[in-house]
């Protein structure tokens, strides 16, 4: 009896479930078509073509095995761009994390007008990267720029200093623009974690006689650690993806050229399509592996705490 009823119920619902399944597939089909055509197929194509010689100037696309990958090892300019990219990543991740956490802690202390302060801090992130870069190009301008103007106004000898003549200062100048644009992301992520810390923890620390510095290092920091790791992962991937700032501020100059600009030049100026594809796969993997390091570290730390 029970079996008959439940069987009846199931077959009755069966039509509805089938129609529902069809509707579900129908609703996701625009996404699937877009992603298949513009993301999944191109990714597969990138992997496949990176094993071939694809160059619009040369006929045929012969299979070359790992030649595109082995060539990277003896590519001098490429080595320089890797060094530049790693310098950008280290400088940007450290600066964004240290200043971003401090800025988040500061905003967390502000009671009046906090949302306006946060809006001001988020604004650089919302602007187009190219616009940020031209804003800073104007600030760094040797003769009339704001930076030299401010430095000479306080009496330093920087009237016509050219910031892009020297590799160290050029790289720092590009990094500053990148940090200006990406730090808001760290602030937003860490601030959200700080706001979710229950007030009674600070109350308890205060009763135990903790100073503000102790509260920050012993209560706040441990509780926002996973948020900091998330922010660092984002910062890392963004720094590996640095393109707009370097391209607008210094063009193809090898001194500041990151790997991404190298890929652009190899692909769209030298027309070595397959070499560019092999390079983009390698930098994708490297950026994901480096991010994975933080994720694993935080995972381990929180597990054994």
């Amino acid at each position: 009896m029970t079996i008959a009823i439940s069987a009846g119920g199931r077959s009755g619902r069966g039509v509805g479930v089938k129609a529902d399944t069809m509707l579900g597939i129908l609703l996701v089909s625009p996404i699937l078509i877009t992603m298949a055509a513009l993301v999944f197929y191109p990714i597969g194509r990138t992997v496949w073509d990176s094993l071939h010689r694809v160059n619009p100037m040369q006929a045929g696309t012969p299979f070359v095995g790992l030649e595109n990958y082995t060539r990277m090892l003896s590519d001098g300019p490429l080595g320089t761009t890797w060094v530049n990219t790693f310098v950008y990543v280290v400088l940007a991740v450290v600066a964004e994390t240290v200043f971003g956490v401090l800025a988040a802690a500061l905003i967390n202390q502000v009671k009046v007008g906090r949302q306006w302060l946060l809006a001001a801090v988020v604004l650089p992130w919302a602007l187009p990267g190219v616009v940020n870069a031209v804003i800073w190009l104007w600030i760094y301008q040797p003769g009339a720029g704001l930076l030299n103007g401010v430095l000479s106004a306080i009496g330093l000898p920087f009237e016509n200093h050219v910031w892009f003549n020297d590799r160290t200062s050029a790289i720092i100048a590009v990094t500053v623009v990148h940090v200006w644009r990406m730090m808001p992301l760290t602030v937003v992520i860490v601030l959200a974690a700080m706001q979710s810390i229950p007030a009674h923890l600070y109350e308890a620390a205060r009763i135990d006689g903790a100073t503000r510095a102790q509260m920050f290092t012993l209560v706040t920091l441990p509780l926002v650690r996973s948020a900091i790791a998330v922010a660092m992962t984002n910062a890392t991937v963004n720094a590996f993806n640095l393109f707009d700032e370097a391209w607008v501020l210094a063009g193809s100059s090898l001194e500041t050229r990151p790997v991404l600009v190298q890929i652009y030049l190899e692909t769209f100026q030298n027309l070595r399509f397959s070499y560019g594809m092999a390079l983009s796969l390698v930098i994708t993997l490297v950026s994901l592996l480096v991010s994975l390091v933080y994720v694993l570290r935080v995972y381990r730390n929180t597990r054994f705490d």
Binding site: V17, V28, T34, L38, T46, V188, T267
Partner: protein
């Protein structure tokens, strides 16, 4: 907790530094855009413009060019402004529309391969755009979609779809299912429920997804540099062109930069709450 005076001073000093760091460069761009070119190299530097001019904007908008002199850029600038607006708006509408439909299906409807497909789509968030740019370029050439609105908008859609889908699914999952079940018992169909119950409740999530897609598309540079070289060239590609090898026209750059800033600034001022919630959801992928 009672705040000591020194602590409050420290906070105010920190806030001042933070505001100068974040807004200073933007202020300087706006100030420069209304400063006459002759005043640019005036030293010692003036933090407030001593003379006011709209000449840079006039050149940009092609007003009274005969008096000011200089190159005619209005037709280029107008085209770039329209291109930026058209592609960003089209990409945003399309992206939010199809990701909302899909996110609803991924949340509430069972179909084979649901979990796998969702994971595969969201996993592409970890893949930077340039890993697909080159094959995409060849696909777009073979479809004759290079330098067309459709081609560029579709690329933006594919770039921001995973984030938007991820965000909207978490929004839909948080909605109380009881409402939908009640409507279902009353005989409402899936689509009726979606359009009349789910969508109105998901307003903030849709806004966040739309903002992220719009700002992303509005700020794109590498993609239009490759896919929109001429007819559909957006502002982000045009503005750096005012930087030439021999001469950099800072008047035009700061004026056009100020205009490119307006829309993101309005979004941040009026919709920051949604923007921040979207950023948070997007960061924890």
């Amino acid at each position: 907790m009672k705040q000591s005076l020194s602590h409050r001073l420290l906070i105010w000093a920190g806030v001042a530094v933070l505001l100068i760091w974040s807004l200073g460069p933007i202020y300087w761009t706006l100030a420069s855009s209304i400063t006459p070119t002759e005043d640019f190299s005036a030293r010692p530097i003036h933090f407030f413009p001593r003379h006011f001019t709209l000449d840079h904007f006039s050149r940009l908008f092609g007003i009274d060019i005969a008096r000011i002199g200089g190159v005619q850029v209005w037709s280029q600038f107008r085209a770039a402004l329209i291109n930026s607006i058209v592609t960003s708006v089209a990409a945003t509408l399309l992206c939010v529309a199809i990701s909302a439909l899909g996110a609803y299906a991924f949340t509430r409807i069972q179909f084979p391969g649901r979990g796998f497909l969702f994971a595969a789509i969201v996993a592409t968030l970890a893949i930077p755009g340039y890993a697909v740019l080159i094959p995409l370029y060849r696909i777009m050439i073979s479809l004759h979609l290079v330098d067309t609105y459709v081609g560029v908008a579709l690329i933006y859609v594919s770039a921001y779809l995973p984030l938007s889908l991820w965000l909207l699914r978490s929004v839909f999952e948080a909605l109380p299912i009881a409402l939908e079940e009640a409507a279902q018992l009353d005989g409402a169909g899936r689509l009726y429920i979606f359009f009349n119950i789910v969508l109105p409740l998901a307003g903030p999530g849709l806004t966040a997804a739309a903002i992220l897609t719009f700002l992303g598309a509005w700020g794109q540079y590498l993609v239009p540099l490759i896919f929109s070289p001429q007819a559909t060239k957006p502002l982000t590609v045009l503005i750096p062109e005012f930087v030439t090898k021999n001469f950099i026209d800072y008047g035009l750059i700061t004026a056009s930069g100020s205009i490119a800033i307006i829309i993101p600034a309005l979004v941040v001022i009026f919709l920051n709450r949604y923007l921040v919630s979207g950023l948070l959801a997007g960061s924890v992928k």
